[in-house]
Symmetry: C6
Subunit: 72 residues, 6 copies
């Protein structure tokens, strides 16, 4: 909640935008060691929204993300 | 405590506002691996307040939130 | 230590002030999974001070707080 | 490393100053669940320095502190 | 997401740039205790991208990095 | 990555500079509970570089440091 614009020039932000647009299936590893899989629908400064195989949304806090991996 | 206005333009903030207004039951996963369920009553920059089934409030620090899931 | 004024307009800050004034017994869940109980005596931007049943103080860093629960 | 002055007006900073001046023995609980005991010698924005019973210093990062407890 | 320029004057940023350019194999230790190995491809303020031996990318959040070790 | 100058006036920064200059062997405790030992070579705002007994470098992120202890 520190800044009000998503920095769309950053590689990480742009790659996530591409993965959202292409509806690529991804894995999100979280600091609790949870591994979520699904398709990302939107991102903002605080969160990334992931839909699972039943199209149920999970709003993930960025602070809790360890890594993101597109499924090959 | 870094900024004084809740950025109501952000998708994550707006979706939480909608979940509060609609009294949707949600799951909050925390970095301690606790999974709280209940209805959110308010949010500010630091915290989200969740009421459980006995209407008891829990003030959750945002920094400790991993993800939020509306119950289907 | 990023900002110098406690934002007394925020619901979370005000609710803590009320719990301090009313000497409400609370539970503080910490990221180490410790659960402290007692009455809060003061808060500032960095910390919350909790007194236990023997009136011994513990200065808790906000960054380590997961949730706060007034005892019913 | 976000701000350059220690905010000496804050209760938490002042109480730590008092504990340093009075050479009070304290317990520091850390996010790794370590519990250090000793006397604090100095604080700055990033760290608190603790000396153990053999007068060996440990520089503790504030970000890793969960709570501080003066020994009764 | 707090600042918009990668501070290329910092030793840590420059060393990572060198490791990217030289395609040095590295180990990345993460706060979940995962140990990733591979070659870094890019960095920005939020993330570092690592390719594994099958050339699959993993976007690692900086906040989750504990240490980086070039393989000898 | 929030500020561009290392605050060389701070006791913690200065003590680390002294430990670097004197090539003092140190222990670095990390949030993963790893305990690294070696000699520090440089610090910047984001990281501290530690060389082990085989002179292999490890770039440690400050955010992951719990405490630093000069070996007696």
């Amino acid at each position: 909640m520190t800044s009000s614009e998503l920095e769309t020039g950053l590689p990480s932000i742009r790659q996530i935008q591409t993965l959202i647009r292409d509806e690529t299936e991804v894995e999100l590893k979280l600091i609790t060691n949870d591994l979520l899989t699904g398709k990302m629908r939107w991102q903002d400064q605080n969160c990334i929204c992931l839909h699972d195989h039943y199209d149920q949304p999970t709003i993930v806090w960025r602070q809790a993300i360890v890594y993101l991996k597109p499924k090959p």
